[in-house]
């Protein structure tokens, strides 16, 4: 009986701690898992639709590359006509991205990272600036617009993406770009610190 009186509270304490730890962990990584899940859903859709357009060989003609890209883009757009900003970058995950970007662009090395992101950024690029480039979900990324460089130091911190998607910057927006369909899938507005 005495043994029970000693061990029961201890067990309760351990169980309580475990539940608490688990709850706090889900608070921390929950939104990220949610983001990963949304990305996965999108890529599944991409792959499903990809199988409906003629297969692109590894060594092919420019006309076929363009036709494939446009056909895939049309199918994806048609499959998510109501897609809007925040579908993948849900509000819950936004503070995480903001925190990572802030840490990259401020402090030691921040100035250089900001310069890197401006390099090739279609809003600022000196050679072929597209100041009016509209950032919108389901918008086609213009072929004539350059692509911003994304510092590897930042890419190593952000959630990993499947090969169909890339993070890019347009102005101060972080864009999720489908590279095969050349479509903006989602974006986080004005997240690069001024």
């Amino acid at each position: 009986m005495r043994k029970f009186l000693i061990t029961a509270p201890a067990l309760l304490l351990v169980a309580g701690c475990a539940i608490n730890r688990q709850a706090s962990r889900s608070r921390t990584i929950g939104p990220l898992e949610q983001f990963d899940g949304r990305v996965k859903e999108y890529v599944e859709l991409h792959r499903r639709l990809q199988s409906k357009v003629p297969e692109l060989k590894e060594k092919t003609e420019p006309a076929k590359i363009l036709a494939h890209e446009q056909a895939l883009g049309r199918l994806i757009k048609a499959s998510r006509p109501d897609a809007r900003q925040g579908d993948l970058f849900k509000p819950a995950v936004q503070p995480y991205f903001e925190r990572v970007l802030k840490s990259e662009f401020t402090g030691a090395g921040g100035k250089s990272a900001k310069a890197t992101v401006k390099d090739g950024n279609p809003r600022y690029d000196e050679q072929s600036a597209h100041p009016g480039l509209k950032v919108a979900v389901n918008a086609t990324y213009p072929k004539s617009a350059p692509l911003s460089t994304v510092p590897p130091t930042l890419l190593f911190k952000l959630p990993k993406l499947p090969q169909e998607l890339e993070y890019r910057f347009v102005g101060r927006n972080l864009v999720l770009l489908d590279t095969e369909a050349n479509l903006i899938v989602d974006y986080l507005p004005e997240v690069v610190p001024q």
């Binding site: 692109l56 060989k57 590894e58 060594k59 092919t60 003609e61 420019p62 006309a63 590359i65 363009l66 890209e69 090395g109 250089s112 990272a113 310069a115 890197t116 390099d119 090739g120 000196e126 050679q127 072929s128 072929k143 004539s144 350059p146 692509l147 911003s148 460089t149 994304v150 510092p151 590897p152 130091t153 930042l154 890419l155 190593f156 990993k160 993406l161 090969q163 890339e166 590279t179 095969e180 050349n182």
Partner: protein, 312 residues
């Protein structure tokens, strides 16, 4: 009669020499041009479709008659301002038609003006990959990287590919320079932070980059030679702010580079649009513990292969 015959012969030889000089665009090839050596050309930031790009391509084709390079690497920004099929024609296929007809193979890296889908374009020989490696000759391996987007997957791939390579010559090419004296862009420090720790221990000898629209050869950095060749189409006149880094710079006209690897030396000649030699250097292969180990392993492979062959 005999005199007449000799005169005709002299005339013919003179015509041939003149024609050769014309085709060579009066370029004096200083490279050793040894039989059996490995020869290649380097072009960067080409894709304007403008007159100067065509003139550079023509100059390269003239040189190729005397200096028969087998392949050319492209350092990104292969297409500026549009990538419709007609752009591929105007900005790549037409200018380099002569070279490709002579069997020169082009290997491209992606620049910040290039759609990633260029990897599927057959004449860029990227085999559907943003980053890839190829070994045109025993002991020489090229690594083409996508410096726009160095994510974890690519980084791991680079490390693995460099570690596994037994080649004596490891030549890496991509778009954004790790070192540069450019007024406009300068070096990409974030990229340098992650790539240099791989390049130094794993025996990379040469890094070719573009992005800056001029030619610059750096003094060796941590033993590695860095060359910027970003003016084969575009040009930023006066773009170099010469620094302690610069071994040789040229920002007055468009240019391209010819290279020859013979034994432990890479010979490099940079040539301007007008055929002027703007740089010439003979640079040694790096000797690192990894390179030495790799060379020993390669030798062992050869010995094993020979032994297997003789035992059959």
């Amino acid at each position: 009669m005999k005199l007449r015959h000799v005169t005709v012969m002299i005339h013919r030889v003179a015509v041939m020499l003149l024609a050769t000089a014309f085709l060579a665009g009066a370029v004096e090839i200083r490279l050793p041009c040894k039989p059996g050596s490995f020869k290649f050309a380097v072009f960067g930031d080409t894709g304007t479709g403008g007159r100067e790009q065509y003139e550079i391509a023509q100059q390269a084709a003239s040189c190729q008659r005397i200096f028969p390079f087998e392949l050319a690497i492209m350092l990104g920004d292969n297409m500026y301002g549009g990538e419709a099929p007609r752009d591929f024609q105007k900005k790549f296929e037409a200018p380099y038609k002569t070279l490709m007809e002579r069997g020169v193979k082009f290997y491209a890296a992606l620049g910040n003006h290039d759609d990633a889908e260029q990897r599927m374009y057959k004449l860029f020989n990227m085999n559907g990959e943003r980053y890839y490696t190829f070994r045109p000759k025993a002991d020489i391996r090229f690594f083409a990287l996508d410096s726009n987007y160095m994510d974890q997957d690519q980084f791991k791939w680079v490390e693995k590919a460099l570690t596994e390579s037994h080649s004596k010559w490891k030549i890496v090419f991509f778009h954004h320079p790790l070192y540069s004296s450019g007024r406009r862009h300068g070096p990409n420090l974030e990229l340098r932070k992650v790539l240099e720790p791989l390049f130094v221990p794993y025996g990379v000898s040469f890094v070719f980059a573009g992005h800056e629209h001029f030619y610059e050869r750096m003094k060796p950095q941590s033993g590695i030679y860095h060359v910027i060749m970003g003016s084969s189409g575009k040009l930023r006149r006066g773009g170099i702010n010469k620094s302690n880094l610069t071994a040789r710079g040229f920002d007055e006209d468009r240019a391209f580079v010819l290279c020859e690897i013979d034994g432990d030396t890479l010979y490099l000649q940079a040539i301007s649009r007008t055929g002027e030699t703007i740089d010439y250097a003979a640079l040694p292969c790096r000797k690192t513990p990894h390179a030495a180990a790799a060379a020993a392993a390669a030798q062992l492979d050869v010995t094993r292969a020979r032994a297997a062959g003789s035992s059959r």
